[in-house]
Amino acid sequence: MGLSGVIEFAVAAAAVVIALGVMWWRDARGHSGWDDLFDPGMPELQDQIARKFSAEERAARSFGERFVAGLVPGRVQIVGRFAVYARILAAAAPLPGRVRERVARLRATFPALTDQPSGSDALAKLDAEALDACRALTAAAERVERGGVK
């Protein structure tokens, strides 16, 4: 068969393994970011997130830095989902207002709250930016749904 034949078969086998492996991996993950973005309950979920942030900010003012530190993992997880939405929405059209950069900055900035003495003020500021990013992402998803992208 020769070296070229071995390479050809290896390339074919690798392509099949990659294709089937990726399909299996996607099936294992199940739910996709698009399912979240096009869920009819997304506006209500946004309101719930805003109310949750507001309640936790009030509690942070009372309980201090340790309470803020406890909120950081949850914030990082939420902003992590926003980063996924920003990545997949980029397949439709460029996102307005540099949303992707803002979400990436939030992912790096939220963990730093644990080291800040005025954590509750910083938390409120970052929460406001996160909610702005969420609204921008939802608006971009609505444009895809209406078919208004070029």
Binding site: S4, A19, W34
Partner: protein, 230 residues
């Protein structure tokens, strides 16, 4: 024609008839016109080969048929990719650029030198093997880019791609055996392996075409309007 080969060929013909019937009855042609063209081409050419072997069961005709079918596979994979990204123009443009680049690389790879199989052969084993590898790379590209953007594959498209992936890997392996063992002993082995693997693949496609689709997710309804017309 060898009786065993004729029997397997007839089995494949029956399965392909069921597949064509499913594609028409379930209107799967709306999901991929090129796959419908591919199945029709294979069915007609196989029946001609069976009916008039003196004319159509020759190495030259087989080579032309395989070349045409190879290009149809490229079109099927490209159509599935472009339909998957039909509502996502940037992703579609990225996919198109990558597919064109890979197709050009595949064409250049066809020109690379290769060792020829032992014994005289009029069948272009090297081109066939490289063609399979090239189409499989295109297929993997569509799957990977769709996964990167979390765009769902339509269940029918997914079945088509899985069938192609498994069959073409087996086909590439059969070609590898032919090139290793030499033309005469390997050709009969190839003729035994290939129709059997293809029969299994056609059975998978027929099942995929007949079974009802699952309830579409919100993402599928928005991103695949061609599959769920209002």
């Amino acid at each position: 024609m060898d009786p065993a080969r004729a029997l397997v060929g007839d089995l494949v013909g029956v399965l392909m008839f069921f597949l064509l019937a499913a594609i028409v009855a379930r209107r799967r042609y709306r999901l991929s016109w090129s796959f419908f063209a591919y199945v029709l081409t294979v069915f007609v050419s196989d029946r001609l080969q069976r009916a008039v072997p003196a004319t159509f069961d020759t190495a030259a005709v087989w080579t032309v048929k395989e070349s045409l079918i190879g290009w149809l596979k490229v079109v099927v994979v490209a159509e599935i990719g472009l339909l998957t990204f039909s509502r996502l123009p940037r992703g579609q443009r990225l996919l198109w650029r990558v597919l064109v680049m890979l197709a050009m690389l595949g064409f250049v790879a066809m020109l690379a030198p290769a060792s020829l199989p032992r014994g005289a052969s009029t069948i272009p084993w090297v081109s066939l093997a490289r063609g399979q590898a090239a189409v499989l790379c295109l297929l993997a590209t569509v799957v990977v880019i769709a996964a990167h953007y979390q765009v769902p594959l339509h269940p029918f498209h997914r079945g088509v791609l899985v069938g192609f992936a498994l069959y073409m890997l087996g086909y590439a392996g059969a070609i590898a055996c032919a090139r290793t063992l030499g033309y005469v002993p390997a050709y009969r082995l190839f003729l035994a392996m290939d129709p059997t693997a293809y029969a299994a693949t056609v059975g998978l496609w027929a099942w995929t075409a007949w079974r009802p689709d699952p309830v579409p997710t919100p993402a599928a309804r928005v991103l695949h309007p061609w599959a769920y017309p209002a």
